[in-house]
Symmetry: D2
Subunit: 346 residues, 4 copies
């Protein structure tokens, strides 16, 4: 059995990692470390984790995290690096924070206020490039940076088009709607149920959201040239889920058939990323609680644009599911082991 | 491998059975039969069932349902009996409709407008009686009637108190709130999203809801004497889940400690029914998509009443999860095989 | 013009009072006082109050509240008394907190941890008693205690039955579901949108909710004898609204016709309280944003119980609408002046 | 008093017109005509319209609609023209359908399957053009076409930028999220509460939504040159509201200050359209039930784009509120008479 610990286990991302690990046939759940919740029963914070009713959160120290094959870090941005430095090199560290996602120190410095910590292999096995997906970089890795939730939905939606050279690099517009768990368990007035139910609102408008450089990094890698994006996130009245609507200017002569061929080529063999049949459109409800990504494409000839919609569960494929998928790759297990491929709907 | 078919696979209950079966390690999914949806792709109706993207619904006939070890019936009330008669005796038939739940023909006739079809073993393995739970009646059974969703939440909430003789039989009040999937995929104006979001309303008030005699049957069995209940269902703005608030007049001298002892005795060994630690209260969100039942008890000495709250997912433990649990018992598998014991939260 | 101030204007109750006052033809909105939000623009907290875009919250002092004909107090429980003492006797003070609602000091002391402050005329003009409604006590009053939201829905639902002697005093069960704005703008994890959407849960179970003695006080007044109630509140996934399901044991020989006569007699002349036609049931969506109360009754002969359902908007008729209605009575204006009698639906 | 009738009064748009008219000080509500609901009580369909509890829907004929100063048409697309022809020329007809919105017959024919019926004055008083708003065309008009809900949110968001020459005409991307009442009271499975709650999905992707040519018509009028748009609508889990995220490529040298000046100039005198203070963003919750439009702007220099977000209530300003506003203009009343300028929040 693989012994796994979670640091930051009391948050939404941490709780989702634990949820998935309870179903993983080869994992034994070890330390569940928290901050202010240390000492409390796990189910007092995550009442859904019934099989762990006799467990408590522990403090987050190198000692409590010692003796595991894998440690998941589900900490606020900027806190992973310090903890990672204190853990052994041969432990598989899987960081769900932003700390090690960006390759460009300048981009980091522009968007984050902590010191640049370096770059770890990027945990998106299905990300298309001109050379195919790069999951081999994750096989056997001991340090992995799990992608952000918006970058997951947006990058998987557009990368095949860039990898196949179907769209222009300088005119990408992405508008994404996220369930409120994406904001974490922050006690802020605008996240109260009474405020979010029945209401939608944008935030981080004008290119200031921290996921912008990560999306650009992914799409630039796919395109083989610098890609810039206009990205607007919005808060939607649902607990989970991201629906990303992504558009790019299509190159002359590219039609829907060519687009579908490119996406088929990119995802036909993927277990979790699915180009839907024509006529169906993604919905976040259909992927709830699963590691699935639903994608559909359209070509708007009137304005010369490709429009791609993608749906993910921000906590599963958008965070914790990707983390477990990366663990599987790092440890040589079948990539989909223990991961749900069916959403909970309706 | 066990080969299982589902009749009524295009509805919410049928879709949930299929969802659970995709995760069952010993089941191969056979025929998925429907009515007007016959011939359509399964994922055009249940877009969450990604692994079945290449499957279509078939027509519902004895022939299409032939050749399976188990057939789940997820049909509108009153339609199971006719189909059941046409299927072989040695097939395990698990009926999610009401047709075979009631033992009392008079009760059936009062509440339903079809002919009384008889009574099958009742698929609630954990239901407390003075002689303990009666799951042995399900072991090896070839015909099983799966309980209704409200009766599941209400009966599991109150049966231990009746079985232990702690409450009076003639003064039970139950008010339950259900997610709208409980009404099935009915195209009625009051079930439209615009109508139900942000709104709660009662229905079937005054003892006219069809689940009333089923609850009374269960509690009478637990009490060993006739129990009558005032039952009011309400429609809540959520897709899934039932929260039942159940009260009964407590007998003189019974205190909270005695109540907790009775519930501990009833459920300590149960995998899916959980008396929560003191201070925690059930929430439907915590059991979403799982086969769990969360229960908490209080004694209101001021008015001499026991108050019990229970939460279930109406489609899982309330219907399809119970159905699969019964299948496991019927076939001699470990009772919890393939059933989710962790909810999808938040 | 009547000059009105609001203390606690930054909370949900305070914001709703201001919303209603913007539509009141005879009110000029004066000081909007807050605590930690003092100095901030009103629309930074209440972005719906567009016509007040140039206003700021002030501090809460006797000086800022001076010079008004009416002062609404929308403060946390226990804070009204101290402030009230510092305001002139001839100002109309309308307290939306609990401080002055209870007549029985012992009940206050059991449920609240601050000193008993006394009793003000109770602001429920339509509350039935054997002598008819008592709104004359509010005409010309200078101190009024606005009822709690649960007591409003429960008392209006049951008082006519007690006033007419149709039900027993010792066996009342009330289960109510409330939108999450009922908890105020408290930054608690269980009130986060991600937690409440899609989930229902009970709280304050077993007779410990503070609204219990207030409901009993109202029903005892209607009955002319002591009434005790089992009251269980639940949190529902909606921003606003209360649906109360109320049952009482009906006296021998009382039938539905007698019940409807009693409710017709109680409410036929009321502008805001409506006994629905037979066959319709209340929904919180139908009263959203209005001062209306929808009521429907059923008699469950099987168990000998009256079941009454009522729906209110907890912030409007449940708090701020009642407050403005009381102001109208205190100042001799037509009782319904400026109050919405049409809900915002769907 | 103005006597007003509504044809299509049983739908969501019709019900909202009636809701607003109940608060209009100079309107007497006449005939409420419906199709299959004719003969039923108004409150059996719209239970929020309490003051009309004694009214029934009538049939929709020239005779039932006779004798009114104003007739609102809230019919399915393609049905207004036939009815309009049968009504007198001097009656004010206000059509909430699409029939008379488009000036270009070819655009009509591309997107609709009924015959082109002609063009009526377009009921968006605040729509910016190089010559200022065109509300004078509505003053005294006897035929008015009320804009679509998406075109309202998108056009008011972008028109000032086009009218001021700040953005390019050929690269507009609009992604909008709508509450499900926008789909009307259609009995379709994907509109059931169980399907929409907790889920977002796009539809009409790739330029095929019928509101596309209407948006282009409005923005072309503002720009004085042909504007094309990529428009993607999405369905959001809320009853009401549209949040439109609109982007266009900004011309060299245009900065945020210039943009704010243009929007200030366009809307400073408008009662219902509000450019929010910097730092605030629109939310649909803040405009619920009101005729308000909230707008905020950002400039993303990184990609050279203007990003504008706007929020409206699709049933109020998006349909019925605009209709009443147009009636006021047609009849020479103050434009905002009877229209709510405060949203119902939270």
């Amino acid at each position: 059995m693989i012994r796994a610990a979670v640091a930051g286990a009391s948050g939404y991302a941490g709780g989702e990692i634990v949820r998935l690990l309870t179903n993983h046939p080869q994992v034994e759940i070890g330390t569940l470390a928290a901050g202010s919740q240390a000492g409390k029963p796990v189910t007092s914070v995550h009442p859904n984790l019934t099989p762990l009713a006799d467990r408590q959160f522990t403090e987050t120290t190198p000692e409590t995290l010692d003796g595991h094959h894998v440690v998941f870090l589900a900490l606020p941005h900027g806190q992973s690096a310090a903890l990672a430095r204190q853990l052994p090199d041969d432990v598989v560290l899987i960081d769900c924070g932003a700390d090690f996602r960006l390759g460009d120190e300048a981009a980091w410095t522009t968007f984050y206020d902590t010191e640049f910590a370096g770059t770890w292999p990027y945990g998106m096995p299905e990300l298309a490039t001109a050379d195919g997906p790069q999951r081999h970089q994750l096989e056997g890795a001991r340090r992995i940076a799990v992608p952000g939730c918006y970058p997951t939905s947006a990058s998987l939606a557009l990368a095949p088009a860039f990898a196949a050279g179907l769209v222009d690099a300088d005119d990408v517009v992405i508008v994404a709607a996220s369930g409120t768990s994406g904001a974490g368990k922050s006690l802020k007035p605008h996240l109260l149920g009474a405020e979010v139910m029945g209401s939608m609102s944008p935030y981080g408008v004008g290119g200031v959201h921290r996921h912008t450089p990560e999306i650009e990094q992914n799409l630039s890698g796919a395109a083989g040239e610098p890609v810039t994006v206009s990205f607007t996130p919005t808060l939607a009245p649902m607990p989970r889920g991201i629906l990303a609507t992504c558009t790019a200017r299509i190159k002359p002569g590219v039609d829907l058939a060519a687009v579908r061929r490119a996406y088929d080529a990119a995802y036909a063999e993927e277990k979790f990323v699915h180009l839907l049949p024509e006529g169906m459109w993604p919905s976040t409800g259909a992927v709830l609680g699963s590691n699935n990504v639903q994608i559909q494409v359209a070509v708007d000839a009137h304005v010369g644009r490709l429009v791609v919609a993608s749906a993910v569960d921000n906590l599963t494929k958008g965070t914790a599911g990707a983390a477990v998928q990366c663990m599987n790759l790092a440890l040589g297990l079948p990539e989909s082991t223990g991961l749900p491929s069916v959403g909970v709907a309706p």
